[in-house]
Symmetry: C2
Subunit: 164 residues, 2 copies
């Protein structure tokens, strides 16, 4: 898997928060988010804690508490989120696991992999949470992870007006 599960959850959650932030001010409840995204509450909490200590989100305890983006969603890239959870490995590691590799003594697949991982980095760096979340709304995309019957009911399409 290219991104760890925790990392994809983190991205999804970040996008969710960015989306919520653009419509209603205040903190987004992790409980609610975990339900809508269909991600285990406690697991999601842990992931968000990583994002908190990475300075990407802030959190607040108590009623009306939750999490919120710390900076303008336009200024937060997907790379920021990925690095906060999975680290830079994806963009720096050697594909074949040979230590100490580099330009001097590159392994046989170096050139291709170096290009590809640079493209990956560039793509994620150029994609802000704001842009990405916006496109979700524009394209009326689904968002949450469907699992089971409940999921099929709940997550049909997110991005249209929801009750409440």
């Amino acid at each position: 898997m290219v991104l760890s599960k925790a990392c994809t959850y983190g991205i999804l959650a970040s996008l969710y928060v960015a989306r919520e932030a653009s419509r209603s001010r205040g903190y987004v409840s992790i409980g609610r988010m975990s339900e809508e995204l269909n991600i285990s509450f406690h697991f999601l909490t842990k992931i968000l804690q990583q994002l908190t200590s990475a300075g990407i989100i802030t959190s607040m305890k108590g009623p009306k508490g939750g999490v919120a983006l710390r900076r303008d969603p336009k200024e937060i890239s997907l790379v920021d989120v990925i690095v906060a959870i999975d680290g830079m490995g994806l963009f720096t590691d050697c594909l074949l696991g040979l230590p100490g590799c580099g330009e001097e003594k590159p392994c046989p697949v170096h050139d291709d992999w170096a290009d590809i991982r640079a493209s990956l980095f560039q793509a994620f760096r150029d994609k802000s949470l704001a842009d990405t979340a916006l496109r979700i709304d524009e394209l009326n995309l689904r968002f949450a992870l469907p699992t089971g019957a409940k999921a099929a009911r709940d997550n049909a399409v997110i991005g249209r007006g929801r009750p409440e």
Copy 2:
């Protein structure tokens, strides 16, 4: 990690076999290979068993036994090895883990990721074991995974004439 450890070992081993095949005929001993590549013998054996059942290598028991490539190394691509061990997932899976994604309702990072994974596939498909192993010799590259003192001694540079 993009490729599983087993998969990188499989690639390394395949290249090793391709390299040996080009100089001395016959089967390559897994025991010797595991020492030179610094990969656990039993683990490597299992990985090679996967390559065997995938039809990439043949094996032979007993003295003078070992493994050998089943086809011409020019006709075996890195994709073949990767798919045999890790499956097609890397080249088909959704980056964000959203099920049922595709061209119709693509997630926000679809276009970039689709391009990138296609490049990945192409790069690995166009790289044969023969080409890759050859380049290892040409560039006088190191090959094995160094670990610990013994490794530093043994694996200094492979690709030059070895004794015996």
